[in-house]
Symmetry: C2
Subunit: 701 residues, 2 copies
């Protein structure tokens, strides 16, 4: 006995929480009374049939419950006369077939003293099984529990910007999780845990390669590799998609052109698509970045994006796949207002897309800034299903060293009102298809996942993956509640600690906005790497890659005039939106400098002048990082020591860099505003030249 205890201790000593298990921890619940309650309701798992997804559901439930409850949970073919167990079953009528996305829905209910998890599909049962585990992990009662849930959006995808050489574009969590050179022979066990994590939050698709795509994935050399990944994903209800390189017919097909109206090109894609489906019968489809940032596309042949997308849709033929065509385009000349360009290119194509095409639109009109107004294409293309693309990797949000919980950012976009069909025409309804009665609907998160042990670099970055999946399933969920759910599953169930961490997460994005880009400032970060401040950047590869293009600061004031007096980008929105944002007096301060050039001495609704309000936000924002640190420190007793130390050190970096941002922006804008830093704030102790030198370090090769 003593010997055994020694070993148990040793085993545990070696197992500091390295974050690998994400929110699927399944450690035994500490409260014996609570455990006893659950034990009564989880005496077995009953499941019938060989369906691989159903087997996954049962196995995961067994594994999770055994871990959480510390008792064996046998698996049986049926409940028979037994009670007190969990019964998984595929039941055609479990969900009313008229409900959107009914096949993936699940129903959980009590029957003969068992808890039944039923769905029209095995995938739905899997989602229900994870709902049961989540319920236990977060302390909800199983007795008397009944719930019915269907996903509000059909295609719920992660987009990986992973390159064939193992790098990840805008990735801050190590190299790609895909080891292409090892595939198909070696299947890294990590692939399975990745699939588990995705399925547990309801994601059902994965684009495995960067939208700046290599053609090699379409070759006979690589398709077996992709097929091997698809084989790992399949038992988790996840389909694999590919980003395609538009010029593939030329570079791997030997054709002289990639013109979508060329019959040889059409035939090449049709044959290629058939070849893909032979290797991957449940292949999800294509994601395309075309005529964007140097990528080839149909416009190279004077064809439209619709011509290109429709050609691929035709190539898919009767296969059950879709084309997700990205609207992230802006003209190569960089004149005009980049804000408007995707709209100008795409809105006129509404109604011209094949039913298999969805147009994928970023949440905002520029590029994943810390805060953007919703993209004007939402609500403006009623005849086209629009996929909402959000970015989980923190390209503009402090990489993996700043704590920025994205639940509120995603929710803010989803809840934004396009007024396309009057008040209440939210982006969420556009995306879910309910506003315009589309059966197709999609949402995509650009993954923040890499091969570092804890998946996301910043331990709190896991919450962004989690919240994205949960909101993709149900956009009505509250981001604060999701933060709490994630915390309980991932870090601690101690009530005070959960409160403290949830508050931290909840406030983190608005704090980040304050110390980097308050009042609607945007795109003033370090050149190319998008790290740290560089508001003075005036020369770059293109005018719309500079900072001054966006903030338009001068001796008079600050901000991009997008009213009729300026670029008139505002005209792309519905009148009701224009009305709200069109006057500097009524425009919410969060969007002020997105749409207005405001005088430095202009008083704002806060009672402060623009300059003073700007300083106020930079200073209070940067100081608020100390509050984040306090929240984290308060939770310390309830946290694993390794996780605590990891996040604490990142918060220190964040604090230092928040001051960096503050000082850079205040000192630079001060050269334009020519006013003192208002009391009670102390002027920065370093000079603008100091800061510029520091920023320059990150621009060195």
């Amino acid at each position: 006995m003593l010997l055994l205890l020694v070993f148990v201790a040793a085993a545990h000593r070696g197992v500091a929480d390295d974050g690998y298990r994400l929110w699927l921890k399944y450690d035994r619940l500490a409260d014996a009374g609570q455990r006893a309650q659950y034990q009564k309701a989880a005496r077995f798992v009953a499941v019938a049939g060989p369906d691989p997804v159903l087997r996954t559901a049962a196995a995961e439930l067994q594994r999770g419950l055994q871990g959480l409850l510390g008792q064996p949970v046998p698996m049986q073919a049926s409940a028979g006369p037994l009670s007190g167990g969990i019964v998984l079953k595929v039941e055609r009528n479990a969900i009313d077939a008229s409900a959107p996305n009914a096949p993936e829905g699940y129903r959980i209910y009590a029957e003969k003293n068992n808890l039944v998890v039923a769905s029209p599909s095995a995938a739905g049962v899997l989602y229900g099984a994870y709902a049961v585990l989540r319920r236990v992990q977060t302390g909800g009662a199983l007795a008397g529990w009944a719930v019915r849930s269907t996903p509000r959006i059909r295609y719920r995808l992660l987009n990986h910007w992973d390159n064939p050489n193992g790098t990840v574009e805008r990735g801050y969590a190590g190299s790609s999780i895909w080891k292409w050179e090892e595939l198909p022979q070696r299947l890294d066990p990590r692939y399975t845990d990745y699939a588990r994590a995705n399925a547990s939050i309801g994601l059902n698709g994965v684009v495995v390669n960067n939208v700046n795509a290599s053609a090699r994935y379409l070759t006979p050399e690589y398709l077996p590799k992709v097929a091997a990944l698809a084989g790992v994903m399949r038992p988790y209800g996840i389909r694999v998609y590919l980003s395609v390189f538009w010029a593939a017919p030329k570079v791997i097909g030997g054709l002289p052109t990639a013109d979508p109206l060329d019959p040889a090109v059409q035939k090449w894609w049709a044959n290629k698509t058939d070849e893909i489906y032979r290797a991957i019968p449940d292949f999800g489809g294509f994601l395309v970045k075309a005529n964007s940032e140097g990528e080839p596309g149909p416009q190279d042949y004077q064809r439209t994006h619709a011509d290109g997308a429709n050609m691929l849709a035709k190539a898919l033929g009767t296969h059950d796949g879709v084309v997700m065509w990205r609207a992230f385009v802006y003209k190569a000349d960089g004149s005009g207002d980049r804000f408007k360009e995707a709209y100008q290119d795409f809105q006129p194509l509404d109604g011209k897309f094949d039913p298999k095409v969805l147009v994928q639109v970023k949440n905002g009109p520029i590029d994943f800034q810390a805060r953007e107004p919703f993209h004007p294409l939402f609500g403006a293309m009623p005849r086209t299903p629009l996929v909402l693309e959000v970015q989980l990797t923190q390209e503009y949000l402090g990489f993996a060293t700043h704590a920025v919980y994205l639940g509120p950012l995603i929710k803010e976009c989803l809840e934004a009102d396009t007024h396309a069909q009057g008040p209440g025409s939210t982006v969420a309804k556009v995306v879910a298809g309910s506003l315009d009665h589309h059966a197709q609907s999609g949402i995509a998160g650009v993954a923040n996942i890499g091969s570092v042990r804890n998946w996301t670099g910043h331990p709190l970055g896991q919450a962004n993956w989690y919240a994205f999946g949960r909101l993709a399933w149900d956009h009505t969920l509250d981001p604060g509640a999701l933060a709490e759910e994630w915390t309980r599953m991932s870090l601690t169930t101690n009530a005070a600690a959960v409160r403290s961490i949830t508050a931290l997460l909840d406030q983190s994005r608005s704090i980040y906005v304050r110390y980097t880009t308050p009042l609607g400032l945007h795109h003033i970060m370090g050149e190319s790497i998008h790290y740290g401040p560089q508001p003075w950047l005036a020369k770059a590869g293109r005018p719309d890659w500079t900072a001054v293009y966006y903030h338009r600061g001068d001796s008079v004031g600050l901000g991009f005039d997008r009213t009729a007096a300026g670029s008139n980008a505002l005209a792309l929105y519905q009148p009701a939106v224009q009305k709200q944002w069109g006057s500097a007096a009524t425009c919410p301060l969060d969007y002020l400098l997105w749409f207005h050039h405001v005088g430095w001495k202009q008083p704002l609704s806060t009672g402060r002048t623009l300059w003073n309000e700007l300083c106020h936000r930079y200073y209070t924002g940067a100081d608020s990082v100390a509050w984040l640190q306090k929240q984290w420190a308060a939770a310390r007793p309830a946290l694993d020591a390794a996780v605590y130390a990891d996040v604490a050190s990142r918060l220190q970096i964040q604090q230092q860099e928040a001051y960096w941002w503050r000082d850079a922006c205040v000192l630079y804008f001060q050269t334009l505003a020519r006013q003192p830093v208002p009391a009670p704030f102390a002027p920065p102790t370093r000079t603008l030249a100091d800061i510029k030198r520091q920023v320059q370090v990150y621009q060195l090769k």
Copy 2:
């Protein structure tokens, strides 16, 4: 009791061997009798004083012995009257001061029934402590054991080709282990385990950044990050070095020039060096790649490499650091024979270097090919200490999917006889400094380490890190014995399995040579990525980046004539070497095509014609991978299942790619030789066009 057993099982189930612990496993020895023997000799560890390195030695010994022996091993300030323990002590006379590198040496001996580990330095005690652990891990007796060991080479370094953005040049094990954005605030626990691993095999220095260097490491922004790493390494006896960007005085110093004879440049480097030593008092020094492959250097100002190196040496002043100046240079025009160029640039500088300068020379004259003759600079610069640079990352050796144990490759170079001072003037003696009586000596391994969980990608790649360190300490060690040692410490102590795996490792490099570049072929791999075969490559950025430049195949024969009738590179070697290699009749077949253009029908010493011998080696080499697989399969019962499966799948890939290499080379060379594949070998079933298409896939962006 039952409950505990359940948990023990659960804990163990979760702990498949993921390779993270390397050869420092410290799992309890299975044999109780053996354990009992050791337990009698390891009742305590006695150590006095606060020296951090000494504390490391004691702590590591305690940790290791507790793990291996399954008993508490208390730490005490002194043995006092006790016996049966291990006593660590720094003892000025432990090693005769006249022995080379005496301060780092250790002596282990019995005294008053204790085992004493003594050294003139704490670092030496640390190496001795690891020797004790190795002894126990590999089953040697402690009773009656006495040993004295000093490192034969003073500077034993890993060179990391890690970039500031987290990528690793020629790295195949994930992203860089250094998380620059997290430093200095966050110290990844991995840094400590990295330091442990290095110290355990006797390495004492680490160049943390790529030789294609960024200037940012020299900035006030980055020096604290480097200093933080140095702080982790210091208790392990490891010093940190930096690769420097020659043009740093311009890009971060604001000077108009980087001319080493410019007083302002000299002052800048002197000040910078002082600044570095203030941050890192035990900083090791600089590694420099200058005027090589596009890097700037002193030749930009019509100065020599010696001018540049000596300027840096002067900048080091009285600081205890050195300059390691790389000789890997070849002219930008690509005419001539690249084989000769480093020699031509550097040999005339012999005697012109500052005493603080060591010239770092790759093992062979081209670039880390699977087999190269020793570099002609060895033995040709008697007045200059030469650092031997070998590559552990498998840039040309199949990345992380081919099993290639490098012990024999390194040993082959070390044992090569330069004849510089008559027979027996081995490269090892040149490098160790014993031949030319240099006090300075160095060896560098380009690391194969990344952030993947198991450090090296291929689990067997760990053996290369291990063998490099052990050979760096003592080049007289046998690579086969090191393979066995590593296997016993890392994989299994089962005698049959150890034999089987050791044989696999021992043969692996010669098998790799056979199926890729037999008979002295070299540099016929895929363009730029250096992966897979591309012997037909005739056009590249430079002629000496093609394959045809090196194999010189034509209708007459194959091979690069480097005799007097050709490039006369052979003249760079001593007459005795020339004599051996200068005639195709006496040249060892392993080097044949390195030095001779041989007719396709020329009979070789094997009795076969060149063409038939070439086919013989490609076919038997590729088939030998099946033998590697058999060796591995034979060890299966003694191996962790996860490790077994991992290596087994990589061997499958290796088998497939060995056939790829064979078919590519046989089919391509056949177009020149115009002869059939000799019996009993079956001609490839695919065409050269098939293979070229496949190779092309890996050249796609």
